[in-house]
Structure formats: C-alpha cells, structure tokens
Assembly symmetry: D3
Homo-oligomer: 277 residues x 6
C-alpha cells in the first residue's frame, strides 16, 4: 500500500472519531503522561495492517508514539498472542484506540477469511481473487488484506479493468461486437473479460479472442465443459455464490481463478483487544 | 441524516470506484441510452438507505436519474420484494451500481440485525444502543441504520459524550476525582458516564452523582444487584459480549440500556440484487 | 485543542493571507536570513493561544522556527510584558506575522473578557459559559479561549447538545411532548435542555424531567422564583442580554449557569505587537 | 464577491455548526414542515451580506428556500426594520439560523463602522481603506463589507501588493535599494508602497520614485509637512492609531488615504434578530 | 470523460485564475449585463473539448450561460471557422475566458497532432498511443484529446498497467523472474508488458509468455526482426524518438502499436480566439 | 515559490500518476532496496525547478530520499550535463520519476525560452514579461520558471491586476470612464493598465492618468509614435504576436515591457533523462 495515499485516508477516519476532540481524555490527562499498550489477538487470526495501519494511526496523531515487536502482516497467530506493543502519550493512545482497532479487526478478518479460501484450494493451480464488493472508502485497505491473506486482486475500479456484462452485450447485439468496441477504446494493457452464462457464450468469446472468460453462476458440470472447451485459450474465472464448502469443487473443475465477494463483503471482524500495561 | 453532509461522503465513494472513469461502459454506451433497473431483496430484510443513499448515489452522478416506489426506510420486506425502481442513462446506472449496492447491503444488514435485537427485548423498557465500533468512514450512515432498525445511538464521537474508563480512573486515583475533573471541563449539556466492573465502583459512582453507569462485562447476578443498588438514581447501561441469545436475560435484569457493538461490527451485508428491466 | 485538527485550520488561514506568496519579502530576503521577534502585550490581558496557535502558525510555515519563554495560556500579564520570543528565517516570520497576530489578539481578547465575567461572579457557584455566537470558522479556537479565560463551554454544535426552543415546542404542542420526542431520538449521553420564558413553562419542564432549564430573558425577580421552584431538580441556566454590569445580580438569583454570547461575539481584540529585535 | 468562491466558504461554516447534524430539530420536525422567518435590525445599521450571504447560507442547505424583500446591501436602516423575509423547510431554517446570523451581524457591523469613518471625512478627498487585520478565514467577506460601507480595500494578501517596512529597509541598507529590488521582482502592475516614520524617509522615497508613501504613526504636523513635501508626486497614506475622533484631523492634513485597522478588527457585531412568523 | 470528476478539476483551474475575484470586471460590469461571444479557430485544427470543457467552464461559473452550434469533438475545421457561440452574463464570460481558452487550445493542439500521426500510418494496422508524458494535473483531459484525435491510450497511471523496465529486470536477475513476480502480484485483468532493447530480450519475453513486448529505441531493421520473431505471439509496441517523419517507417515494420510521447509533451497549443459580438 | 503551497500541488500531481499505487514496482521491489539516479540534460538548457520541484517530488514520497550536486536554478548547462544526483529507496524513485521529469522538462523549457527572449533584447531597457496563458493548474510553477529565465511576471490572476480591455471600455462609453470606475473600486496598490489599439486611445489614456498603456498588436511605426506620445508619462507594454524574430524590433521602439504569451503557451519541454547508476 502506498503510505502516501494511506495517510490521507487514516486522517479522515481520525477526524470522524475525534470531531472537535476527546473531551473525556482532555479533562483528565495532560499532554505529558505516557503509557504502553499491547494489541492482543482474542482469537486465532492472520495478521494484517499492524505496522502499516495500526501503528500509523497512532503516529499520525503524535510523532512521539513508538512501537515494538510487531507481528509481520500475513503471519498466523493463535488466540492470546500479542500482536504489537505501542508506547507514547496517553492522550494520543486513547484518541487513536478505536480507529486503530476498528481497522485492524476488519483487515485481520479479511486476511483470515482469505487464508481459509486459499487453504481450501491448496494443491490446485486455482487462484482466489476478490471483487469490487468492498466497503466504500476502504477499498485500498481491504484489497491489501486480501493479498496479505494469500489471495489476489481482481480489478481495482471501473477504470483499470474491462468486464463486459449482460447489458453491455445486449446493447451491442453480440459478444464479439462488444469486445470489438472495447478493444478499440481501452488501453492495450488491459485484458478484456466477458461474463458468460452459457456454453454458447463461451464459444462466442473464443471466436473473438477474449482473454478472460468469466463463468457466472454455472453448475459444476457446465464449468467442466467450459474449461474443456476453452482449453487454455483464455483465462477462466468462476464467479457467483462461492463459499468455503463449495470452493474446492469449483477449483477442481480446472478454472484458473475463483472470485469470491465474500472475502470482503462477509468477513467477520476479528476480536482484537487493546490492553493497558 | 444531513443530506448536506451525506453528498460529500457519497461523492468520495464514487471517486474510489470510478478513479478516472468506467472504461467498459464508455466503450459501449453513449450518453443517451437509458434503462430501468430494480433493486430487489434477495432475503428478508429491514430497508435502510433506499432513497437517502441508493437513489442519491445515482443522482449525484446524473441529474436525469429518477426513481419510484421506494420502500420506506424501516419497513420489513420479504425475500423477492422490489425495493425501488430507478430509471435513467445506462452510463450512470452502471457507474453507480456497485457503490449503491455496497452501501445499502451494509445498511440494510445493520438495520435488520438491530431490529432483531430490538425485537428480542420487546415488552421490556430496555433500549438497544450502538457503539463507536463502526466502519471507519461510515459512522454517520451506520448510526442512521441503527436508528432505522429501532435502536438508539450512543455517543457519536469522542467529542459529544463522556465515558470514563479504567485508565481515566486510575490516572485520577478515584472515580469521584475523575468525575469531578470531567464535570469541570465538559459542557453541562453532556452527561457523565462511568464504566464499572464491580459493585464497589457502582457505589462510588452513586456517591458522586454520575448520571450514567455502565456495567461492563458483569454477570447477570451482579447486574441485578447493581440495578437494585442504583435504584433509579442513574441510567444503567449494560455492555460487553451481548448477543441475540443473551440480550433478553440482560434486559430482564432491569438495565435501561444495552449497548451492542455487534450491531455495526458484525452485521452481515444483506443480499440485494440490481436487476435490469 | 487537538493539534491534529488545529493544523488544518491554521494552514487555511495562512493560505488566505499568502495566496501565491509574499512578493515583497521574496524580493528582498533570501531563504537564509534569520531574525528574532518578540510578541509583546500592549495592554493588560489574559494570554491565550501563544504556544498552541502563534508558535504553531510559524512552525507550519517553516520547521526551522523556534520559540522560547512563552507565557502560559491563562496567565494574566500587564501592559508591556513580553509574551513569547520567536526565532527563525525572516521570510517565514514575515509570512506568518499577520495571521499569528490576528489570531492571538482575538483569542486573548476572548480570554480576557471571559476572565472579567468569571471574576465578576467569583465567590458564587455560578458558572459562566459561552454560546454558539462564535466567529464562523473559529469555533474550536474561540471555545478554547473561553476555557482559558476560566469559562466553560456550552454545546459545541447542533449535534452535541439538545436545546428545545419556542418553535420546537410549538410544533409539538407542549414542552413534554417535545422532550419526549427528543429523548426518544438522541443519545442518552446528551442532556435535554429547554428554553423557557415563563414560570408556567418551568413548571412543565419539571413535570417531564428536563435536565437543564434555560431561563430566557427573565427579569431578576422571575429568575429567583424559577430557581426556588426548580429547587435543584434541574440545572438552571440564565440567558439573554447579560453584561458585566448585570452578571452579578443574575448570579445572585441562584442560577447554576449564565450563558454569555458577548464572550465571543463582542470581545475586543487585544493589542499585541510583534517587535523585531 | 465571487459566488463561486463564496459557496465553498459558507459550506465550511455550515459544517462547523452542524458536525453530524441538528439532533434537536431532527427529533421534532420532519423534512416537510415549512415556515417563514424575518431578519430584523435590532439597532440602526448599514446592511451588508443579506442576499449574498444570509440567503445563500439557507439555500446551500436546501434549494426549497426562498426569500423576499431584501434590503439592498449598503442601505442604512433604522432599528426595527425588517431586513429580509425567508421561507422554507423548518429543518433548514433552524440549521442555517446561527451561521447566517453570526455572519451578517459581523458584516453589518463592519459596514456600519466603515460608513461612520467615511461620513467623518465627507467633503474631503481622503479615502478610508481597510487593512489585513481581518478575521482569519473571513477576509473576502470582511473586505466586501468595507466596500459596502463606502470604504476601499488595501491589498488583499501578501501576494497582490508590495509594502516595504522597517525590516525590509534595514535588510537592504536603504529605501532606494529595497525599492529597486522590489521593482525588479514584482509585476509592473503592482505599485510600490513604502512605510515611513520620518520626513527623511519621505525624501528618500521621492528620490526613488515610490508610488505610495505610508506615513506611519506620524503626528498631524509632520503629516502636513510630508504632504507638502510629496506635493502630488506619490499617493500619501496615513496609518496608525486612527479613530473616529482623530480621522477628520488626519484627513485635513491632505493625505489621500487613511488605512484603519479598526474597520475589521474592532467592529462590533450588529444586533440582528431572526423572528419566526 | 467523467463529468463527475471533470467538474472538480475545472473548478480548481478557475480558482487559480480567479483567486479572490476579477477586480477589473467587477468594477465595471454589474451582474445583469449579458453578451454573446464566439470561439473561432485561427488555424486549421481538430476540435477537442468544446462542449465538455469550454462550455462547462463557463457553466460552472454561472448557470445562466448557454451555448449553441458547437462543433463536435473530433471534427476537423479550417482556419476562421466558428467553433461555438456562448451567451450569458458578461461577468462570467470574462471570468471564464482565459481558463476555457488555455484548456481548449491545448486540447485541440493534442487532438490535431494526434490526427497527424494517425493519418501518417493510415492504411496500416498500427495504432498510435500516448504515454504518461502528460502535463501534471491534466492527464484525464489530455488522454481524452488523444482519443478524440484518433489515437488510443496507453496505461493511465502506475496502477492500471504493468511495464517492466531495465531496473525491474536487473533487480530480478532475468526477464522471466520479473514477469513471474508481476504475474503473481497484479490483477489477472492487467496484461504484462516488458521493455526490450535487444532481440535476446525479445526471445526471453516469448519464453515466459509476455503479452506485450515494447521495442525500445530499436532501429528499423532490428524492429523488423523482432516482429518476425514474435510472429503474433505477443502485441508489439514500438517506442522511443518517434516523429511524424519516422512514424510511417516504424509502422511498416509491422508493429501493432507505436507510443508517441510527443502527442502530449510536444503538441503546440492551437490558436483559438474568443470574439465578442 | 512558497514551499508551503507547492507541496500541496505536487501531492496532487503524484496522486494523479499513482492512483492506488505502482503495481509493477511493488511486485518486484521491497521497501528496503535503494539506488542512485542522475538527472541529465539531453540538450542545452536553463535549469529550473531542480531542488524546489524535482527533489521535493521525491522527498514528498519518502523522507529517506537525499540529493546532491544540484545545478542552481537559472544556470545554463550544455547537453550531457548532470543536473542532480538523487539517492534513496528504489520504490520511491520509480514512483516519483515521471512526475518529476514531466515537471522539470516543462519548467526548464520555459526558463530556456524566456532566456532566449531576454537575450534577444539584451542591451535595451525593455523587460520581457509573461501572461496568463499558462497551463491550468501550473501557474505558480510556470511563472517561477519565467523569473528564473530572466523574465518578469505580469499579473498573476484576475484579482491582482487591472487590465481594461475593449469590452470594458465599450461598456463604459470611454476609456476615461472605465478608468475612473476601476480606480474607485480597486485597491490603490494596484496600477491601472489599459489595452489600446490606436493612437487616439493612447491619447485618451494619457488624459486620464493611466499608469500602464498596453499597445496591442500595433505595427512598429505606430508603436514608435505611441512611445513618443507617451514620453514617460506611463509605462508602455507591447503585446501581441511577439516572436523571437520580432522581439528586438519591438524593443527598439522604446517600449518598457513586452509581454510574450509564447513563454508559457508555446515553450517546448526540454529533453531531460533520468539515468539509473
């Protein structure tokens, strides 16, 4: 993640929680008192965002904040494990506490869930990728957590990938006409992906050299036929209603990529505590 | 919610998903083609954010967008129900689709879960309230969804409520000293709330006229004793590890308020589809 | 004050005075010449904003700026007293001079006037509080100056306090109905305040458990009756047309709080000079 | 004033007062109720900012707001006069009320005071001008109020005027050397002004073709001598400690311009009421 | 172009030219006078940005502005041709004039130059594409002008395309190792492009399935060999020192794409006048 | 240039090129690898923006970046000369490279062209000045480059200079009436400039004490007559269609100032390379 861009986001989150200040803390603490806190996993999790998010939240508030012994992002830890120790002015620790926790609980949740999907297809060539079903305002962070969990990213936004869907096709009359229009308009550095519902559509994609074919909500049998039909002439992405219990079966059909909206839209926040020493 | 403030947030969310534009759509559609879409519940849910969020997202992109037959926020609908019909330029419908869905799926999720908690204590005087465990950047929207679900809001930020916790008390030497410092510093329009772990602390709160006493992670028996002890001299808030299965029992202890972090940090996004007509 | 939030405001003020640069100074000084200046009180005043505002203005322009011997905020100084000595590049001293002076002259003016009101009721229990009659864009700074002067703050904004006025009451049909609606809607951490013009209204407030009763523009006799009537069952705030000559009499009626718009809307800027050594 | 730029400022002021919303009003009024209010002068004043500021504040909140019978900016009205009638949703009237009043009370205060200075020199050629001693963040508005009051503006910022002061001169060794450096560096469209304390300095200014000579804190006799000496070869500006009681005497010395910091730093906010019909 | 995003950019450009207002125009015109102006080509050019940029600049200043008879973007016009007629308040026409002209002169310049390159390779399959050598802050507009001129866009930013260069390769030890690392990390929707200087590097690219091979600064003979070698297994992009006199020869080598930095970094602004009727 | 203001602009340029990050570089380099690069002139040029722009771009991305041996802005260097050496993390060097180059190539281009104009009139008193024909968003930087090249700046924006043109004059009925209105409205620190097409208009300007007379698109003979007529009573600015081949002749007519739009609107970007060591 670009720390350059990240700082700006984190400042906005702090502004939301601070509004015009922490009136409780300012009534009680001076600017001089300091303390040490530990972030601790209250359940098993895959760490995500410790240094680059949690530590930074505090340091944006106060450059006197230091931290030590951070668990590396991507590492799996057990319940009870200390994730990081942070030291500095009490005022700033209390101000940053909720924003830092809200963020890393979510990011660790996404990394942990992603890891489960990745582990579920381990041994197969299939890659687990995310979608644009991210929390508004948190896309950069959530897509980072997916990568930390071992997943890959699908396109970031509407501007860095082409995905031709039903209504695009309908408007053009055929897949090939839609692909042609897209190829004429978008940078050559961006591959063309088409969403298909039937084998006929897969056929049509192959006819016009589509680089990525999405099999949308197909049953396993149809997917297998599609993979055989495509036979390496395009990347194959399975999409739609993927769960931890179905992902292995889908991967076994031979698709290259499985995109999983649940990675971001359904990950549960991990339970992480901040303990005062 | 203040539409004045809301527009600014929604614009930022659109910028995140658009970056420099929707390259697929611009390759295929002109600015003149229009269409009608429906938002449809794919599971039973409590509606939240239909007009004020989803419709507005589209209208911020394009003032030619219109909508009709919106379900009122707060209304419970069954699976399959149409939530709203939206009409306008295809380009703008495709541009706004993901942001609108990501937002209302989340907001309906929160409203629906809140409604479950509220229903779970129906018949008792206890109020269900949220916490600051909201998604960074979405607090205004998520607290709105809690209200729509029938819950109430706890303080919005660190600046509009006083909550004296362990470390504040420790720094002052006693609850009463901390309360005194807070009363001297904060506006008289803001009630003082203190987090307590023991009945001794509850006693001390009563000695110094605390207006709201939070019973933090107490067992049901201790809560009952605390309620008896307080006996109407302060508002009583139960907090910590509340779930749908425990909330009735907690409410039965006689507490006035139960704050539930899960309303926002653990609500599952509802499944809502956008169908092209 | 939150330095985190303050920096942003001060940068905007500097942008206003700098536009595209200080053309006089850049024509004459290089980036290397440095100087020392003193801020000096040209009238007796209560210091406010010296380190946290004046010094910061210069340091935001140039991290080579240092300062020494600052008078502590809240300290009363006589005419001629040096408030602070600042050293650094001439270019940055000249750039920041007007913004720094404009701000602290205003803040010291508010602190000094507030101190006069506070002194005027010394010995009585009554607190002097401010209002929302602050300079647009300067509320955080001006409310800080009120606290430095020994006053307290009323609600900060429309979102962190409830004040039920004439038109709210009229719309509901009665005070109790308005209070009920407010209690149902706002966080339990925020006390309900009602503005009253008559003793009948005070009665009605007591009937529905209003926590703060504002006596608006009542004469001293009516205030005394209201205080007797309320008899500790609510906080009593006097408001309306308070001046240094009337504040003692109002306080003697026994009200808890006197809100004084003049603290911010009518404080005269103090005369403070910046002298080059 | 540029409405383009003004809207941005007014939105920031509204954000400051609204934070996350008007919790009292939202608890009591729906979005549908409407009302009419009048702005009324509670003292004699010169109107400033009625349509361009007050009306706009409300319209930025809600495009259903309308207004009628506005007094033209610059018109003098007596106590009790209705300044403008505003109609629209109660929610938006209550939200905008304080920001609108805080602004126009200040702007009318400046226009009214400026008019007094302008009237005090009526019949003479001398112009009354303002300074950069404006409220941080309000310069565009306050300089507008000065013009409305009949005054003229001095330079707006450090970037659109040259004012060579003591320390600039000291750094260069002589006035002429400083002027030369400024002329070489700044656009030819900007006149060079030099601050002088003595007749010797005035002489030196004339030697090097200074276009505007500021007589800083000179006594009346010295000013008269300076005016005679300059004899039309430069514009003459008197500055320093000008008050309503001294301004006529200063103007009679024959200076072209008198700059008065008090216009903005010491104007008292006018008393203007907002009455609900 | 996204009008949603464009408005924000245009407002910033207007702020730059307006600072605190147009002092000449405000001195002379009221808000009521209106006029008609025409934009006229003073040299032959390809139109770009007339409605979406020039007209919008004026309409952002004033919603009373209307326009008629705009030449469609992409149309070639001769010297003297009227490009568009604009009507509205004089104040707003004068305020927007320079920004509108500065922008469309540049955009028409880019479209016109691009058209020359496109025409120079007409009849061949080769596409002319732009680079990231755009004016900072104007990328969205300049890449639009390239498309209007008949060119295509290369990647928009560092985040929507992969271009592996010398130092990336050196850091990895080989092209294949660098490609592997990129494939593992970036979305599958983004094609991998590698910059090559020699035929050996081209070979290596083919070995690891690179999708786009850039021939950087190769002579025509080497390019021809590279094209033969690649033989359709990858897209071939020629880059480096392309001019109008060399582009035909390069295209004749059989490359698919020629990227031309000159389209944006060396296009001369077209001469367009704004005439008052 | 004000580094305070500059940083903000440079951050926006970096955001444009980075969007959500440099995906190629992040795939290949860690945050720890560092390198050294040199900026080298690939043609003879006048340096502009090396430390204040190029070095700063990198340092805004990463405070570990250092640089050495920068050529001073304004110095003329030959082809092949090293302009500056920059050292630091590879990730940040690659991220900043394009923005830094795009900027300094343009700034050096402007400084170099300006120097040519300045040299072309060397020996005469005439000054070369720029116009408002700058790239939108780059005015502060481009006007800096003009000064570095030895030119002077005309007014910066519509707010810091008065230029009365045809339509202003037409609206007032006469030059003198327009001048009078401007003098009455604008700060006395700003000189009045009038655009003239004929000697009659020059006469009229002299009658009403205009300080700067622009001779717009006059032939050399008329210019000479105008200079003779004005005879030192106003600054004389020649404007319109100035080129390197005509500038000497224009200067010889005796005008004080020649404004040259080409300095900014037609300067070619210099060729500057960034070489990895």
């Amino acid at each position: 993640m670009d720390t350059f861009l990240l700082n700006e986001q984190l400042r906005n989150f702090l502004r939301e929680d601070l509004e015009h200040g922490d009136i409780t803390t300012d009534a009680i603490f001076s600017d001089q008192e300091s303390a040490t806190v530990t972030l601790r996993a209250r359940e098993a999790l895959v760490a995500a965002g410790l240094e680059c998010v949690a530590a930074r939240v505090f340091q944006l508030l106060d450059d006197r904040i230091t931290y030590s012994q951070p668990i590396a992002d991507g590492q799996r830890v057990d319940r009870g494990h200390v994730l990081m120790t942070i030291n500095g002015p009490v005022r700033s620790l209390l101000r940053g506490e909720r924003v830092a926790l809200n963020l890393i609980q979510r990011l660790c949740g996404i990394a942990t869930l992603t890891r489960q999907y990745v582990d579920a297809v381990r041994g197969l060539k299939t890659k687990i990728v995310d979608t644009r079903k991210t929390t508004p305002g948190l896309r950069m962070l959530e897509k980072y957590a997916v990568r930390i969990g071992g997943g890959k990213n699908h396109r970031y936004s509407l501007s860095d990938g082409v995905l031709i869907k039903d209504n695009h096709i309908a408007a053009c009359g055929s897949i090939c006409r839609a692909v042609e229009k897209a190829q004429a308009a978008v940078p050559h550095t961006i591959a063309i992906e088409v969403e298909t519902d039937t084998l006929e559509q897969v056929h049509e994609c192959l006819d016009c050299g589509v680089q990525i074919i999405m099999l949308d909500n197909m049953d396993l049998n149809t997917m297998r036929q599609a993979v055989a039909l495509i036979n390496g002439r395009a990347l194959v992405e399975a999409s739609g209603g993927v769960s931890l219990s179905t992902v292995w079966g889908i991967a076994k059909t031979g698709v290259d990529i499985i995109s999983v909206g649940a990675l971001t839209h359904s990950a549960q926040a991990c339970d992480i505590g901040l303990d005062w020493q």
